[in-house]
């Protein structure tokens, strides 16, 4: 038996935690999956600007209420980690127990302005591995998948599955959706290099000027796109993942070799 993961590609209403919470509950209650994964900042919406100061408390309360209903749920919120310090967070709720992971790389370029509001997580204390039904997984938020280290670290720490809640907006008009192709490439690379399942769950719909394209997907450890959610609209898909695919990768790859020397060099840069 594999682990059934639901990709809950929702369109959150910006700043309306009550509305978004209801949507979470509705999906959790009707899901037949073991684990339900929501997008980044799924309880609050992404393009919050100064609304972050108004919604963080409510989003934390919503997570507490979610924990009453959950088996395994990953939902996005703004968490106050100490008075006046907010982090872009994901709650990992397993059988009613809540833990939090924090975004490390906060995009602050182009249309993004996360450093204006959030403090980054600290890899030395905030990398976590969870286990549910015999599956070890890690969670990393959106931009963290645009770097090597967060997923590499989680995989080396024991994760066989990486859940990636995201809020990826569409940009750079072309004949194809360039950002989607870039995500496919990133997820395939992470999966192939680390022998992990990559579960990417994107937000969908408009928030202010931006438009989130959806297209959530699951990539196997062999780098194959196993399932894809719809573009541009809300969708829910369930994908069953298993450890055999992880073995198929790792038996015949050099993932087992971790040359710490590289990290010593990187550390000094």
């Amino acid at each position: 038996m594999g682990l059934r993961v639901e990709l809950a590609q929702i369109r959150p209403k910006l700043g309306d935690v009550t509305h978004n919470f209801q949507k979470h509950i509705e999906i959790i209650k009707t899901s037949s999956a073991d684990c339900v994964v929501f997008p980044e900042l799924s309880l609050t919406g992404y393009v919050l600007r100064d609304l972050v100061f108004e919604v963080y408390k409510e989003s934390e309360k919503a997570v507490n209420k979610l924990s009453e209903h959950s088996k395994c749920v990953i939902a996005g919120l703004v968490k106050e980690v100490r008075p006046g310090i907010l982090r872009n967070s994901a709650a990992v709720i397993i059988e009613g127990k809540i833990d939090y992971i924090y975004k490390f790389y906060l995009p602050t370029y182009g249309l993004f302005e996360e450093r204006r509001y959030f403090q980054p997580g600290d890899p030395r204390t905030d990398l976590r591995i969870y286990e549910y039904k015999g599956y070890k997984f890690g969670v990393t938020i959106c931009e963290d998948a645009w770097h090597y280290e967060p997923i590499e670290a989680l995989a080396l720490m024991g994760a066989d599955v990486i859940m990636i809640p995201a809020a990826s907006p569409m940009r750079r008009l072309s004949s194809t959706i360039a950002i989607r192709e870039q995500w496919e490439a990133l997820l395939k690379a992470h999966s192939i290099i680390n022998g992990v399942w990559s579960v990417f769950v994107n937000t969908v719909g408009s928030q202010e000027e931006e438009f989130f394209w959806g297209g959530s997907m699951v990539v196997s450890p062999l780098g194959e796109i196993i399932s894809t959610a719809k573009l541009f609209e809300e969708d829910r898909i369930i994908t069953e993942i298993n450890l055999n695919e992880v073995r198929k990768n790792r038996f015949f790859s050099s993932f087992r070799d971790h040359l710490q020397g590289f990290h010593e060099v990187l550390h000094k840069l």
């Binding site: 700043g15 600007r49 202010e208 541009f232």
Partner: protein, 281 residues
Amino acid sequence: MMPDYVRKKLLLVDFDKITEYLVERMREYIKESGKEGGIVGLSGGIDSSVTAVLLSKATKNAYFLLMPSSSTPHQDLQHAYSILKLVNATEKNYSVINIDEITSLFSKAVGTDDKLVVGNIKARVRMILLYAFAQKHNYLVVGTGDKSELMLGYFTKYGDGGVDILPIGDLYKTQVRALGLHLGIPEEIVKKPPSPALWEGQTAEGEIGLDYETIDSILYLKFEEMLDEETISKITNTDISAINKIIKMVKTSQHKRLPPEIFRLSGRAINSDWRYPRQWG
């Protein structure tokens, strides 16, 4: 002329997807703002024709306002009627209002016949009419500005610039033309020289001194690819003084694209460090 390099970037795009995207966003915006539909001022030019077609795809409640003046070429009015036909407008969802009388009252009150002042009065009279009709129907005012005009500042502040949304505001004029062809807009509308028609004989390209293919190439290369003026001059085969003129137009019109400046006094001033999304409550 548009260099091949730029043509590939701007015009080799999926116009089906763009249409679907813009229509969906208009639909969502109308719904989220609690409005029942949208209104657009239809001049018979390419921008308003494309916007009208997109609006009619987004909602059943689309209203079209034709507001000709003495400086409106007869042909433009004919073109506007052909768009009404294309979107299957009936008498219930369009009106024609000649603005000459209102305009002349304003001009007399101001005591001027300066073509620029009167031209801007025309644009603002149209804005007032659009908003009055919009409010009457509980509709949104759908703007028709394209990216080229918005960047150049080639619009009247609080005139055609006074709108609720700008659906084609991230498409250059040449992209809007291509989208127009894709949407089945008659070629004579797509190909005629763009004009605000604020006075007789006015054409955009005449006033700016370059054709839109070149203008768009310069805008794209300067502000999206961030190339220097000399390189742009080589790629577009355009004199550097013309490129500088375009860049200057963009820079000096920045005030038209931003909300009015507020002089700070408090610890938290609107827009400066008080930044809330539109979708707030």
